[in-house]
């Protein structure tokens, strides 16, 4: 079953069109990666899906409902989560307050949600009253993930989760992503680290100059000479 279906998305910033008709889908239990060169429109695509950008034409369907151009806070209530690449935590709030922000929409089950997320990220539990602005980059990334998970989303959109992290931290983050996926959340992830992303994913899209150039099972793309040459630097 398709959790997410984006069809022929045309979108951009101001007067400049970045995506010229991109289609993407993600099924339950899948990890889908979007890779490609800088400026291809990868981040633009997930922002358009999440309602952060105006979609000029095309449609986005989530769990059967049409959500094109719906305001982000409404999309969250439908069960889609989004983790931005930068500025993805509230620096003056503590870890626990950051997580509580994620559960803004579910008043009653806050304690359960916190327990669940702390179980997934023990390092956050240890420092739950630390101010988020003082955390390391890796801890912030985990916090950002945790915040999005507080509402048990059916789908998680991740914008370059491994950006500016140490290799060890990148491993940790990808492990967590795998764990989250196994627990039942579909993942659509934009990644610069193409090899890693492909190794982790079920399927992948290669985006370049605002269009989907290649699509297919991650294994196939990993084996493809063209992909290896152009995007994996081999």
């Amino acid at each position: 079953m398709n959790v997410l279906e984006a069809t022929d998305i045309v979108a951009g910033y101001g007067g400049v069109e970045i995506l010229h008709g991109v289609s993407l889908r993600a099924e339950q239990h899948e990890i889908v990666s979007i890779i490609g060169p800088n400026g291809a429109g990868k981040s633009t695509l997930i922002k358009a899906i999440f309602g952060l950008l105006h979609v000029k034409s095309g449609a986005v369907r989530f769990l059967g409902d049409t959500v094109t151009n719906l305001r982000p806070d409404r999309i969250v209530r439908k069960g889609m989560g989004y983790v931005p690449q930068v500025d993805n935590v509230f620096p003056s709030l503590t870890i626990e307050e950051n997580l509580e922000m994620g559960a803004w929409i579910r008043h009653g089950a806050l304690k359960d949600a916190l327990a669940r997320v702390y179980a997934l990220f023990p390092v956050l539990a240890e420092r739950r009253h630390a101010v988020a602005g003082k955390l390391s980059g890796g801890q912030r990334q985990l916090l950002a993930l945790g915040r999005a998970l507080m509402v048990e989303p059916a789908l998680l959109l991740l914008d370059e989760p491994s950006a500016s992290l140490s290799p060890k931290m990148v491993e940790t983050v990808f492990e967590k992503i795998l764990e989250i996926n196994r627990a039942g959340t579909a993942i659509v992830m934009v990644e610069q680290n193409a090899r890693h992303a492909l190794e982790l994913s079920n399927r992948a899209y290669v985006l370049a100059t605002g269009q989907a150039r290649l699509e297919g099972p991650a294994r196939d793309l990993l084996d493809s000479d063209e992909v290896r040459r152009l995007y994996l630097g081999e």
Binding site: P72, Y82, D87, F90, L93, E97, G102, W104, H107
Partner: protein
């Protein structure tokens, strides 16, 4: 929120070092200066120091509202001073029903002080329970006015992403309009909530103050405590702080930003009304006071650090005390009080633009 936009695009490590030192040394300098001045003033000029605490409490309430609006709504609310006076006038109207007519005042029968015993003085204060009841009514009306302005002016302008300049000019236009409304309805003459001689009290350290001033400081403390509880112990307070940190992330996290904005104006309206009323209690009701408040309010907010309520509290007290004590110096006449606030503002912007508690991220 950075205060200084440097035009030079090339920031060398030297610049980074320099700005970090300036940051740290600036903070030390400011704290040392103000604590030193405060201690000396408390001893050498304890009368003025005490009045400074009263005035400073009022500034603090105003500055907290201003800093909240800065933090959540991302603009400088230049109508804050006039809003304080306007809401104080509204409380006056609720209490006394008085407006200006062609031949003297017109008094409406619908007013709080007609209730039995409403004007009977509580303890040594100059007012009765009627005054106290008028304040919440004033807050509600203030919220209605501010929320209307948000709906028709500030909101649409913000949605258009016009930038901080246009929003500030718009709020200045609103300030002028508010002042005109006060003049139209109540006239230019000064007014008081309760005319007559006021009781005074002697404090333990010898200063004699008007008894009302005890109420002012106590009320300010209660309000500050309530604000603290709201911001740090409730979900809506958390949401307000989150929006101040990062409005885009707040939206992305599922926060209903419209609701948070409405709450912010509610809190701001309450702060504005109480601060304005206390100010009018402390001195008098006069429409021109609104504009003159801008300097001390902004000085307090910037000194404390934009976005920081505790900074606004401390900033307000510092500005109040400094104002009152500084005019005891021979060089400065009493008319220079608000110029002192300006001097503080300049010092902060030069020495440590992000203020005492600002995030300066």
């Amino acid at each position: 929120m950075t205060a200084a936009n440097t035009a030079a695009p090339r920031a060398t490590w030297l610049d980074a070092m320099r700005s970090r030192y300036r940051d740290v040394y600036g903070a030390i300098l400011l704290w040392a200066a103000f604590i030193g001045f405060g201690v000396w003033a408390a001893i050498a000029h304890s009368d003025e120091f005490t009045v400074g605490i009263v005035v400073g409490s009022i500034f603090a309430l105003g500055a907290i509202g201003l800093t909240l609006i800065y933090g959540v709504l991302k603009f400088g609310h230049f109508a804050h001073g006039d809003a304080m006076l306007l809401t104080a006038y509204v409380v006056f109207f609720v209490l006394t029903g008085t407006v200006v007519g062609e031949r003297g005042d017109v008094v409406s029968p619908l007013r709080m002080d007609r209730l039995p015993g409403a004007s009977d003085q509580i303890w040594e204060f100059s007012f009765g329970y009627g005054f106290l009841l008028s304040i919440p009514v004033g807050c509600v009306i203030a919220f209605a006015v501010l929320q209307t302005l948000e709906r028709f002016v500030y909101g649409p302008l913000r949605d258009r992403r016009v930038g901080i300049v246009i929003l500030s000019i718009a709020s200045l236009g609103i300030a002028i309009s508010m002042r005109s409304v006060m003049l139209i309805i109540w006239g230019p003459g000064p007014r008081l909530y309760a005319p007559g001689i006021r009781d005074t009290t002697e404090l333990p350290w010898g200063t004699r103050i008007v008894s009302d001033q005890i109420f002012i400081v106590a009320a300010a403390l209660v309000v500050v405590a309530a604000i603290y509880l709201l911001l740090y112990r409730t979900a809506i307070g958390r949401a307000m702080r989150a929006m101040a940190d990062n409005p885009d992330l707040a939206l992305v996290s599922g926060i209903n930003t419209d609701s948070v904005i409405r709450w912010t104006w509610l809190v701001a309206a309450t702060l504005i009304t109480i601060a304005g009323t206390l100010l009018a209690l402390q001195s008098q009701l006069k429409p021109e006071l609104g504009f003159t408040l801008l300097l001390p309010l902004f000085a307090a907010t910037i000194l404390g650090g934009i976005g920081s309520p505790q900074g606004a509290l401390i900033g307000g007290l510092i500005v109040g005390i400094t104002q009152e004590v500084a005019v005891t110096f021979d060089v400065l006449g009493a008319g220079y009080k608000f110029s002192v606030a300006f001097a503080i503002l300049i010092i902060v912007l030069v020495v440590r633009p992000r203020g005492l508690f600002g995030s300066g991220a």
